[in-house]
């Protein structure tokens, strides 16, 4: 078994792990610190190469996807419960690995430049390599418990990286918030695993899928509950509606982190999990519709908030939540191909957008507010065009990557709506289109604000190299360049952006057939509700044309209209934008304050819980401890009661003894005779 070529893939997670250890060692001394970046980049790149080497082996000789399980070592085995460190390699894994290691390498290269000169340089790369280890383990896991290990591992790395600038209390609070909200999701996930083991006596995917294949379509209620529990975990990790609050605050971390973790890879873990366990989700009739509804609701909700935000990174954060909503919609309508395709393309253009935003922040010394910058195209032409391509892809401009993937999702939703005659999916498709319009609008609102219009800017307060650095006073012992002019970033940082831009533009066209074959060959192919985008039911038509062709036209029109309105309001006639904002002041204020969700959470959950905690502490000290002390006091009370009898007088004792004897004798006489 060990001679199989596929087993080379077992090394993929352990290279970054090794790099994490090496970078950890580099942290200790200033001289070694510079060494961290190359080690990290090399490790992730090597993982990427290994992925490509293992790629052909997931197909059998006539091209159909097949899965391999390669065992590394025994992890947990107790009383029939087995969860080993072994990997499940199939086309879906390959897609995810390409995304993770590919985007990972590019972001690492960018970060080498971006983080140069930072005091925690080696610590940053140690955390990034640990993240890649956790993400690859998550993606390649062969059983639910190993998936859970990767799951919480990425949660830990996001905690470490969000709280990278641990001097800032806001960063520490954001990191804590991220970890705890993820943990809430993970609880659902863990309970899902328990129920799965309880029902199917196994947690390994290979065995699970065999058992699921033989399951009757009408599963028993406990089996139907499993997807809802797993869904909780997915929504927690992928920042969907109830548990999305942590992602916008996660922007406290350095920008490469936001790009890699909070845009491209980690947040897609939820999508991957549902795709991987799709046979399980198909079992219960209500699971997938719930996923679809939550996905669309989140997309709409996040898009509206993004409209009125002024911080660049927060806009992109809400945009990510919105795009993830799309992916969940795709999964909800059993079109895993569309969902994973959108995941792939989104990883490219969102990483691009974040990194270009990083370049803007980098050159404006940490300035992030839209209102304090405009007309930067003269100062930073390359970044301007790179962000332009990213925005096009995000807005879904025809023939860009975003266009293909978003269109596929909306088409499949509409098709399910029309063929299945269920109004739910039609409504979801229409909502999806409206969100596409909003997305186009807020993306280009940002772009026109930043790059178009008169060139004026206010430098951010962080002086020195790299973006939102430590507050001054903390003597960072690196040379401080006092730039007062925004400048183009060096080529080391722009090179990866070019690759990402190429991906954002061309990935859609190149990959939309390739992704279909990959998903069909993996565990994520829909078995029961086979409506498959390219499967049967070609005959659905809309406006006389073939459905997919029609959808292409509609979404391109929406994208162009969106871009035009954004151009009008935020480039040509900014005054009009202010007038509209003034007219709808109430709505704008609500959206700007993110529907006051954070304040709601704080007052409804955090504060009362803390009060209950305080109540328990007082209860513990007063009642339980008090009770124990009073029980301890009882003997002393007896003593105090008996003490008067010992007052020292001889006759007193005599009387005591006499009465004692008399009482005893009388009792004996009375009771017994």
């Amino acid at each position: 078994m060990d001679d199989r070529a596929i087993d080379i893939a077992r090394l993929i997670p352990w290279l970054p792990a090794l790099s994490a250890v090496v970078c950890g060692v580099c942290c200790t001394s200033r001289k070694l610190r510079v060494l961290a970046a190359p080690v990290c980049i090399a490790a992730i790149a090597a993982a990427f190469v290994l992925t490509l080497k293992a790629y052909p082996h997931v197909f059998d000789d006539h091209g159909h996807g097949v899965f391999h399980v390669s065992w590394l070592f025994t992890w947990i085995r107790v009383g029939g419960f087995t969860a080993d460190m072994s990997y499940y390699l199939d086309p879906l894994t390959m897609v995810m690995l390409i995304v993770v290691t590919g985007v990972g390498t590019l972001v690492a290269i960018y970060a080498a430049g971006y983080m140069a000169g930072d005091r925690g340089y080696a610590r940053f790369f140690a955390a990034v390599s640990l993240f890649i280890f956790a993400m690859t383990t998550l993606v390649m896991a062969d059983n639910l418990v190993l998936l859970y290990l990767g799951w919480e591992g990425v949660g830990l790395c996001s905690y470490l990286l969000i709280g990278f600038y641990y001097d800032k209390p806001s960063a520490v609070a954001a990191a804590k918030k991220a970890f705890i909200v993820n943990r809430i999701g993970d609880l659902g996930f863990a309970l899902g695993i328990f129920l799965t083991y309880h029902q199917f006596a196994t947690v390994q995917f290979s065995e699970l899928f065999q058992i699921l294949a033989t399951q009757p379509s009408e599963a028993s209620t406990p089996v139907q509950i499993i997807p809802f529990l797993l869904m909780l975990g997915a929504f927690g990790k992928s920042a969907q509606l109830p548990l999305y609050v942590w992602l916008p605050d996660a922007m406290e971390g350095p920008t490469p982190v936001s790009a890699l973790i909070h845009a491209a890879t980690m947040v897609t873990a939820g999508v991957y999990m549902i795709a991987r366990l799709f046979p399980l989700f198909e079992l219960s009739p209500y699971a997938l519709p719930t996923v679809a509804i939550v996905g669309t609701a989140t997309a709409l909700f996040a898009a509206t908030i993004a409209m009125c935000q002024y911080d660049i990174k927060r806009i992109y954060a809400y945009s990510t939540i919105s795009q993830l909503g799309y992916m969940f919609l795709g999964l909800g309508v059993a079109s895993t191909t569309a969902a994973v395709f959108h995941l792939l393309t989104h990883a490219f253009f969102k990483a691009l957008l974040f990194l270009t935003a990083g370049s803007v922040m980098h050159s404006l010394a940490g300035q992030l507010d839209l209102r304090h910058m405009s007309g930067m195209r003269r100062k930073m032409p390359v970044t301007c065009w790179l962000m332009f391509f990213g925005c096009l892809a995000l807005a879904g401009f025809p023939f860009t990557a975003g266009f293909y993937s978003k269109d596929m999702i909306l088409a499949d939703t509409l098709q399910k709506g029309l063929t299945g005659h269920s109004t739910l999916y039609t409504v979801l498709a229409v909502a999806g289109l409206f969100v596409a319009f909003l997305t186009a609008f807020y993306t280009f609102r940002l772009w026109f604000r930043v790059f178009m219009g008169p060139t004026k800017y206010e430098m951010g307060q962080e002086h020195g190299h790299g973006a939102d650095h430590h507050p001054d006073g903390v003597s960072s012992d690196i040379k401080v360049e006092h730039h007062h002019e925004p400048h183009e970033v060096n080529w080391l940082m722009n090179a990866p952006l070019l690759v990402l831009a190429a991906g954002a533009l061309l990935a859609g066209y190149l990959a939309h057939h390739w992704i279909g074959d990959m998903i069909q060959g993996s565990s994520a192919r829909p078995l029961r509700q086979a409506i498959g985008a390219h499967g049967a039911a070609h005959h659905a038509t809309l406006f006389g044309m073939d459905l997919h062709l029609a959808m292409m036209y509609i979404s391109s029109v929406i994208a162009v209209v969106g871009i035009a309105t954004a151009a009008y309001f935020h480039w040509l006639n900014r005054g009009a934008a202010d007038r509209v904002a003034a007219k709808w002041a109430g709505l704008v204020r609500v959206l700007a304050n993110k529907y006051y969700v954070d304040e709601l959470n704080d007052s409804v959950i955090v504060r009362p819980l803390r009060f209950i905690g305080y109540l328990c502490f007082v209860f513990d000290r007063l009642i339980i401890d008090g009770l124990v002390m009073t029980v301890g006091f009882v003997p002393r009370m007896f003593g105090l009661a008996l003490r008067p009898a010992q007052r020292g007088a001889l006759q007193g004792y005599g009387i005591g003894m006499a009465t004692g004897t008399a009482v005893v004798v009388l009792l004996v006489l009375m009771v017994y005779f």
Partner: protein
Amino acid sequence: MNPMLDKLSTLWPEMTLLAGACVCMLAGLSGSAVVRRSPRWIAAVSLLLAGLCVATSSVAEPRHTGAALVGVAGLAVYVKMAIVAVGLLLLLIASQVPDRLRQTQDAEAATGRGGVFDPAGVMRGEFFAFFLLSLCGAMLCAGAEDLVWLFLALELTSLPTYVMVATSRDRAGAQESAVKYFFLGAMAAAVFLYGFALIYGATGSTQYDQIAAFVHAQSASGQALPPLFIVGLVLAVVGVSFKIAAVPMHFYAADVYQGAAGPVTAFLAFVPKTAGFVSLIGLLGPACQANAEQLQPVIWLLWIMAVLSMTVGNTLGLLQHNVKRVLAYSSIAHSGYMLVGLIAAVAAATTPGAVTAGEHLGNGVAALLFYLVAYGLATLGAFAVLGCVTTDQGDEAQTYDDIAGLGQRHPLLGVIMLISVLSLVGLPPMVGFLGKIYLFGSAIQHGYIWLVIIAVLNSAISAVYYLRIIGACYFAKPNDQTQVAVSPAVQLGALVAAVGAVMLGVAGGRLVDAARDAAAPPDAAVVETAPLPDGDAESWSPQWADTSVKW
């Protein structure tokens, strides 16, 4: 041979002590100072001689004593040997008491008027004489087979102690405790004497075996025991319980233990208590011919006395600031624990087909005897350490801050106090724990679950004031006003007691077997059954008491 003569043959140990006492008296009055200082050696020699007599005294040929609770011969040997052993340790500790009295020194010093020595002032001889006499009385209690003999023995035990308490310290406290001890003792004596009289009245004889025959006849014929006998027995038990400071008669204990000097209090804590318990065993022996429900009032009385003694001892002990009063209340509490053993013994004796010799844990009397030695060693150690510390006014250590920081100032005394106190609490490695297993095991054996639960909770309460003593020794800052004057003899005595407590705890097997043999019931002693090999008795099925939970 004339029964009286062979009776005398077993009294050699007592006679040696008596002789020793007289020689001490005389030596005390002799002209030369050296001879006047010699009584403590004379006492030691006579004790050793007595020990020798006990060891060699022929216990082999048992006399048929009819229906005593236990074979008198076996019990007597064990008790006498225990008294000799603990007596020797007490002697070591008490050897300083007479010298500390100012009167004795002044009387010894050359008086201004040309060196005339005032014999009345010299106490040294008398103290040791009374010491030996009291021990002799305790030994007599062990051998008693007759109410009159028992009465005399009890009086012989207590009268010398009144004098020892009165002359132990020059303080008013000693005199006050002596007067209380004397008068209350006299009253208690009157009570139990009246009890004896009623028993005699009901049965017509004062001999244990005749009383046993009478009771046996009564219970065999099915009638209830005559009320006169029951009331007599109750009065006797309550009267004798003055010696062991059980509840109705416990009032004197605290003041007397506080007033008297440390070593004398140690003496009071062990010798009268041993005499008291042995007499109770003797007294209840004949009564046990009756069956359980006929003896219900007596068992119920013992149950009340045990529970009240434990509770009063422990709860009042919590409130004390004076270490000696704490140890006094702890001795009341320990009497309560030992009464648990007595109850188990009576329950065993009154149930038909009672337990045979091979049986250990079920044997209340053996547990009682074992615990007596364990308790003796522990209190002896504690009081010895107290005796070593003198406050700046020249008085003995009384309160907690007198012995503050003892562990740091004198590590050996600290460790001895620690071992003694831990043994009193009943913490495992010490002999006290083994004693508690024996006592509570035998009580549970006969269904007294609730009694054991109360006893266990009481020993938990007792931990509070014992911890205060350890806390004072180890946690408080050393108190430099007190001097720690340690004479070699006292230190040796305390050390032997502590080592004994630990060694017996760890290797207590010997003592357990000795106690079991001592407590062998009469019929077993008469019917020469081969003593069961240790431990792995062959499978025989003892007729167990019914397993119903009594109270």
